[in-house]
């Protein structure tokens, strides 16, 4: 009887793993199979045209804008916040409050961020539906990610580094800039790279704050659409699965590149600390 139960469970384990892998392979396979026919130099670098023959360069540019602007704002704030939490703060009510807020921000679904961005950045601050409004919304979304990964990176810096530096008569600030931040750089960097993935993959919040204008943005105050929003809209509006899948290929390649570089950096980091 127990033998039977064991075999049954073992069978279920194999079956589940097979199912998971099969489904996930199917999704990637499907995206590539459907979309690969459209991929060409003109498709990626060509200007968009509504009749369907155009490229997706405006969406790529918009995506790059959102990534750059959100990171330029979120990275320094996130790193300094983590520095405060790890290096300066005395554990107490204030730190608990900040940690609680950061954790809560992680759990909020992106559509709520979208609502907030639409009322705060778009309407109250009068930015309109724009790349800037979307980027500021994305800044809030990735801030907790950067704070958390930087905190983890700071934790790995041995206490002896700090003591050694301070014993040489440096100030706390000098120790921070010359010793602590450089040695936790790889960890911080992989956190930033992960945020790029989050920004590139985001759709609902951008949909509500950047709008859907399918043209090359004139400035960061123009409404524009990112790759994910484009993929959604062509599916929803015209049912053009091939086009959506072709955009999907570009997205998957970007995510793949991001993941590989994050893995590479953390591997290099581990080797460096193990020496």
């Amino acid at each position: 009887m127990r033998q039977f139960k064991d075999n049954l469970l073992r069978g279920l384990l194999w079956l589940s793993a097979f199912l998971s892998v099969a489904v996930l392979v199917m999704i990637v396979g499907f995206i590539f199979y459907k979309g690969i026919g459209l991929i060409s130099f003109d498709f990626i670098f060509g200007d968009y045209s509504p009749d369907g023959d155009g490229g997706i360069w405006p969406m790529i540019v918009t995506t790059i804008y959102t990534v750059l602007i959100s990171l330029v704002i979120a990275t320094p704030i996130g790193i300094l916040a983590a520095v405060y939490l790890q290096e300066y703060a005395k554990q107490g009510r204030l730190v608990r409050l900040i940690r609680f807020a950061t954790e809560s921000l992680t759990g909020i679904p992106s559509i709520i961020y979208g609502l907030f961005g639409a009322v705060f950045f778009v309407t109250t601050l009068k930015l309109g539906m724009s790349i800037l409004a979307a980027s500021l919304t994305l800044t809030i979304i990735v801030l907790p990610v950067i704070i958390r990964t930087t905190e983890e990176a700071l934790k790995t810096v041995p206490g002896s580094y700090r003591e050694g530096s301070l014993a040489l008569g440096t100030t706390k600030l000098q120790t921070l800039y010359k010793v602590i931040l450089p040695s936790s750089m790889p960890g911080i960097l992989s956190g930033i790279i992960l945020s790029v993935g989050r920004i590139v993959g985001e759709s609902a919040a951008i949909f509500l704050t950047a709008g859907t204008v399918a043209a090359m943005p004139d400035s960061i105050l123009s409404s524009a659409r990112t790759l994910t929003v484009h993929s959604y809209l062509v599916t929803q509006e015209s049912g053009d699965i091939e086009l959506a899948a072709a955009v999907g290929i570009v997205l998957i390649v970007i995510i793949l590149a991001i993941n590989l570089s994050a893995t590479y950096i953390s591997k290099k980091f581990n080797r460096a600390t193990n020496k």
């Binding site: 194999w14 589940s16 199917m26 995206i31 704030i77 900040i98 921000l105 559509i111 993959g201």
Partner: protein, 304 residues
């Protein structure tokens, strides 16, 4: 002659020290402000969304009970009832959990305990990569493959349905659940396994009686994270839900969950209609808080 110089030097060193000291103070303040920004943004988000969402009920005399339990959503006729959407969201989430959690968990166990190291080394990073794929693409896949499949298999007029949403969300949860749960299972100390096996317990018995209970809190985190991804998902769901405003009575009914209601109408809504979308957001928000609370309760109960 030498005394004034020393004084001058002392004064200069004093000045330099003072500047350093000031810089330390100022930068510490700056760091604190950065850290407080997350508190401020959280308060701003809650403040704005709740202010906008509560306005119709507080200032315009709409009934909150009618909003929650009303089943008509006709903004042009001033009717705002989200009961069908609440039901759709709850069913979609529970359905996705019922399918996604066991498969994801079993896959994680398989990768950590059963699969050869070589096989796990190929599959795990691939699954991890899939966790990063934009969720819109899961929706595109759902619309192109799952929806027609359901349509043909069950002879539906429209394949976009509650079951399509459940399947897409379950698939979307898989990579997150597998990745996090696998890490948790691998973190169980080797001695647990050896101890159990030495007592004559079979490998499968060891896995389900010793290792899974030991990794419970990590597994719970995996479920909460997977759930978080599913429950807040919007764009992928719009593509496969069908967006009908009825209370679903069967798995093949077309539905409109809470998230999609916001995204579909936010573009053109204004006035009370827009505020009602914020109110929808509040309901979604509370829904997530309650679910996380329940899951935390379940996991702490299991601990006793």
């Amino acid at each position: 002659m030498s005394i004034p110089t020393t004084n001058k030097q002392t004064v200069e060193i004093g000045k330099a020290n003072k500047r350093k000291y000031m810089l330390e103070k100022v930068s510490q303040r700056l760091f604190l402000i950065c850290a407080l920004l997350s508190v401020i943004t959280l308060l701003l988000i809650i403040g704005f969304v709740f202010y906008k969402g509560a306005h119709p009920f507080v200032a315009e005399g709409y009934s909150f009970i009618d909003f929650i339990f009303g089943s008509d959503w006709v903004p042009s006729e001033d009717k705002f009832g989200i009961f069908p959407m609440i039901v759709a969201s709850i069913f979609a989430t529970i359905g996705a959990l019922i399918i996604g959690v066991p498969i994801g968990l079993f896959t994680a166990i398989f990768l950590a305990e059963i699969a050869s190291e070589r096989l796990a080394k190929i599959i795990s990073p691939a699954v991890q990569l899939l966790a990063g794929i934009p969720s819109v693409l899961y929706g595109v896949f759902g619309l192109a493959i799952i929806v027609p499949f359901l349509q043909n298999t069950f002879g539906l007029v429209k394949g976009q349905s509650l079951i399509a949403v459940i399947l897409v969300l379950a698939i979307m949860m898989l990579p997150t659940i597998v990745t996090v749960a696998e890490t948790a299972i691998r973190a169980v100390p080797q001695t647990y396994r050896e101890g159990s096996l030495a007592l004559g317990v079979s490998q499968i018995g060891t896995i389900f009686k010793v290792i899974v209970p030991a990794a419970k809190s990590g597994i719970m985190t995996a479920i909460v994270l997977g759930l978080g991804r599913a429950i807040g998902e919007t764009m992928a769901v719009i593509l496969v839900a069908g967006n009908s405003l009825i209370v679903p009575t069967s798995l093949t009914d077309s539905v409109r969950p809470l998230t999609t209601n916001i995204a579909l109408e936010m573009g053109y809504a204004f006035g009370t209609h827009q505020e009602m979308l914020f109110a929808t957001g509040i309901v979604l928000f509370s829904f997530i808080l309650i679910l996380n609370f329940v899951l935390a309760k379940i996991s702490s109960k299991g601990g006793n």
